[in-house]
């Protein structure tokens, strides 16, 4: 009896200390690390991209958009949507809800960064090419990707039995990835207005402090993306728990109805 009381009070104590964070928050040590890193790296990026790095010999100041445009494209199209692909494959194979939610969270982050890529690209296109938009292969395929993943997010919101919805989303999450291969090689396969690959791993076409600013931009975007991803995933996880709990509560309610 005494033992039971102790356990109960311990439970109460641990529940009390854990409750505010675990039950109602999405923060953790990990998100704090990502958050601080995102803040520090973004601050450094501002200094390097806007002040320290030089203007480009032909483009002038507008080259500074490179340090946001390219990193956000890589984070969106290659990292975030790859997580969606992996999550979708694992979901289909193992029916893991964790990976289904991870795929969805990553797609949301990817869509945001894809929008940033499109917007910064348009802002860059006007002073360079003379137009905000042209239906060239790289621009078109990127816009198609954006729409595909918006569609993917829409499928995730369909009013379907959860396992059907998850499966359809996962299939779309896999098919949509094929278009990213087109985005990647569009500037090599077809003639385009958009410039070719600058960041060739073998032969990078970027001068010293420009390259450093780019790497800072890359790290900053990865930190921001990871930070948002963990938070978004936890929100989705809690929504899932809530749905489960309301289902369990509804079952109990029906059972008690049946008894009375």
């Amino acid at each position: 009896m005494t033992r039971v009381t102790t356990t109960q009070s311990e439970d109460a104590k641990s529940a009390k200390s854990k409750a505010p964070r675990d039950a109602f928050g999405t923060a953790s040590k990990l998100t704090r690390v990502f958050g601080v890193a995102a803040f520090v790296l973004t601050s450094a990026l501002l200094v390097f991209a806007l002040v320290i790095s030089p203007p480009e010999v032909i483009q002038g100041e507008s080259v500074r958009l490179f340090y946001i445009h390219v990193p956000s494209a890589i984070v969106s199209l290659y990292l975030a949507f790859s997580i969606t692909l992996v999550g979708s494959i694992i979901y289909l194979r193992k029916k893991s809800i964790f990976w289904d939610l991870m795929a969805g969270a990553a797609a949301e982050i990817g869509v945001i960064f894809c929008a940033i890529t499109l917007i910064t690209g348009m802002l860059w296109g006007r002073p360079t090419w003379g137009v905000y938009w042209k239906w060239d292969p790289r621009l078109t395929s990127t816009a198609v990707s954006f729409l595909l993943y918006v569609g993917y997010l829409a499928v995730r919101k369909l009013e379907l039995p959860p396992h059907v919805r998850r499966q359809r989303a996962a299939i779309l999450g896999i098919i949509s990835f094929a278009n990213l291969i087109i985005v990647r090689y569009s500037v090599q396969w077809w003639r385009s207005l958009h410039q070719g690959t600058t960041l060739d791993p073998v032969d990078t076409q970027l001068d010293g402090s420009m390259l450093f600013s780019f790497f800072l931009g890359m790290l900053a975007m990865i930190a921001i993306g990871a930070w948002l991803l963990v938070h978004r995933f936890r929100v989705a996880w809690m929504e899932e728990r809530k749905a489960e709990q309301s289902l369990a509560a509804a079952i109990v309610e029906r059972q008690s109805e049946g008894r009375s």
Partner: protein, 154 residues
């Protein structure tokens, strides 16, 4: 739930679904979609997605093009001259072929200059290519502007 409760005596074990067979079929459907997509990309789109013709190709196809509007790509090989009515005249070259361009549209960006790659949109009028839009291409090379250099980005 207490023992003896009639509701808990129900068999609540999830029923076995013929899942294996269905997911196998889905993979085949996915594969067909991907193969169709790959075909469209490599074959069909390849021809349709010609964003521009190079100067030499445009001249070869001049008869077929007649007065169609198309895009032509080349390097500006003469110093562009702007006359009093705002018409810009210059020559673009590609693979040893050159073409005179008369631009009557909106002014191009500051990057437009001798030596720059451009895509001009317009049509042939006699021997002259009349352009309504100049798109300035930029290479994938980024070179820092040195401090001792005059002017930035011109």
């Amino acid at each position: 739930m207490t023992k003896g409760d009639s509701l808990t005596d129900m068999n609540l074990t999830p029923r076995e679904l013929p899942e294996q067979k269905r997911s196998y079929r889905n993979w085949i459907i996915c594969g067909i979609f991907l193969a169709a997509g790959a075909f469209v990309v490599t074959q069909a789109l390849g021809d349709a997605a010609v964003f521009y013709l190079n100067v030499d190709e445009a001249q070869e196809q001049k008869v077929d093009l007649a007065d169609d509007t198309f895009r032509m790509q080349g390097t500006v090989v003469s110093e562009p001259e702007t006359n009093s009515s705002g018409i810009i005249e210059f020559t673009v070259g590609w693979e040893g072929t050159t073409q005179t361009v008369r631009h009557v549209g909106e002014e191009p960006t500051d990057l437009f200059a001798f030596g720059q790659s451009v895509i001009v949109e317009g049509r042939f009028i006699g021997d002259i290519f009349q352009s309504t839009q100049i798109l300035v291409k930029h290479s994938e090379n980024y070179v820092a502007d040195n401090e001792d250099r005059d002017g930035v980005g011109v």
